[in-house]
């Protein structure tokens, strides 16, 4: 799937505008470090989740 330069620039602009109003999004803080989903007993690091069970 190819992303055109124009589409990519438009998406960048959306995030930039959002961050001007709401502050910079810290991507490092979102790196998974404590996965406990155990998706079907895990062993795979599947990034699964159990939905809104809490």
């Amino acid at each position: 799937m190819q992303i055109s330069e124009q589409s990519f620039s438009e998406l960048e602009a959306v995030v930039t505008d959002y961050e001007k109003e709401n502050g910079v999004i810290d991507l490092d803080a979102l790196v998974t470090t404590n996965c406990q989903c155990t998706g079907a007993h895990c062993s795979t690091g599947c990034s699964g989740n159990k939905g809104q069970v809490w």
Partner: protein, 375 residues
């Protein structure tokens, strides 16, 4: 407003207590890593005492706020009397902390004798069906042609998260069909490629084709929720990485209790996977947060921090918790690139509906796209 794409995020304060309630299983799946199955099972008194100590731990802890009791096997429903006993006991006990009970099952032992009970207790007890796509895929991986598995029951009873799919070499060529069939039936599922498999470049190409079919389906049909393979958060992808962060809660916020009550960092380090001798050896050595977790041969890889790893699988197959299975590299990279391209296209299509979580997700995809195009 719900995020457009559901991503997995770390849940702070979560204590995961896994109870291996039986070593027995009625199936023999092609990708199973449990090579020490037996008829051993946990008794109810031991299970209750273990749970009480875990509740006390969470109650007195500043680190933990909630507790999940996760039944594991073998096939947990081979010890259904214990499941029933414990769930009813916890329902009456009403501990003063947030608590759920969960388990994964192959679904073959869920029948008319226990469905009503499961429906009645679905608020406390969350069951995930481990199901590998459509009937043929399920048969290829699990040889379940003679078993009746009531997939709609799981979808109706636990709609937030019904199924988990393991992708094998045999089922990869029909991955998209299997996923879409379950999703069009109303199922909420996630999927992951099997570990310990000899994945090749040819498989990675097949994976790319299958993910492309899924991308098209999600871009055309907004009622389908994109599967985790494409909606996963693209955080931590950047140039020239040297160190990996610890990925999961094994040995820290997770604990697994075997049928005899002995505790292990997670089930992957327990006797049913490792055998008793090896399991005791690793238990003595201890796993702590600062254990060596970076595979040195991955240094410099842009995906190092993002790429999932299982310390248990690494130890089991290669004798080293850090040592990853490099036969997975092409599969993981294919998935990351597909997820990146999909998210840019998907958010581009829904640009006016993005939530705070979507903005973070989009930023991750934009950043990752730059990394991939500079490679």
């Amino acid at each position: 407003m719900e995020p457009l794409l559901q991503i997995q995020t770390d849940v702070s304060g979560h204590r995961m207590c896994m109870l291996i309630i039986t070593h027995a299983c009625n199936l023999n799946c092609s990708y199973c890593y449990e090579s020490h199955k037996s008829n051993k099972r946990m008794d109810a008194t031991l299970a209750k005492n273990t749970i009480l100590s875990e509740i006390a731990l969470v109650q007195s802890s500043e680190k933990f706020e909630r507790l999940e009791i996760h039944f594991i096997g073998g096939e947990p429903f081979m010890n259904f009397p214990l499941i029933k006993n414990i769930v009813e006991w916890l329902d009456n006990l009403k501990p003063s902390i947030p608590l759920i009970v969960s388990c994964s099952t192959n679904g073959t032992l869920v029948d008319d004798s226990n469905k009503n009970w499961l429906r009645d207790h679905r608020g406390l007890f969350h069951v995930i069906l481990s199901y590998d796509g459509d009937f043929k895929m399920q048969h290829r991986n699990r040889h379940t042609e003679k078993n009746q598995i009531d997939v709609p029951f799981f979808i109706d009873t636990w709609p937030d998260y019904s199924c988990h799919m393991t992708i094998s070499k045999e089922t990869l060529p029909t991955l998209a069909h299997g996923v879409l069939e379950l999703q069009r039936a109303g199922g909420t599922l996630d999927a992951a490629v099997a570990q310990g498999v000899d994945w090749t470049e040819e498989d990675a190409n097949t994976y790319k084709e299958q993910l492309a079919i899924l991308m098209d389906a999600y871009l055309q049909d907004e009622t389908l929720r994109p599967i985790n393979l494409l909606s996963t958060g693209l955080f931590g992808i950047s140039e020239d990485q040297q160190l990996q962060r610890k990925y999961c809660g094994t040995g820290t916020s997770m604990k697994t209790y075997d049928v005899d009550g002995r505790a292990y960092p997670c089930h992957m380090f327990s006797p049913i996977v490792c055998g008793t001798e090896k399991a005791l050896e690793i238990e003595k050595s201890g796993i702590v947060e600062n254990c060596p977790i970076t595979d040195e041969s991955c240094a410099g890889c842009n995906l190092l921090m993002w790429c999932p790893t299982c310390y248990g699988i690494n130890y089991h197959f290669r004798g080293d918790m850090a040592s990853r299975d490099h036969r997975l590299c092409s599969m993981i990279r294919t998935q990351a690139i597909a997820a990146c391209e999909f998210q840019l296209a998907y958010y581009g299509k829904h640009i006016g509906k993005l939530t705070k979580a979507d903005m973070a997700q989009l930023k991750g995809a934009i950043h990752s796209y730059r990394v991939f195009t500079n490679e």
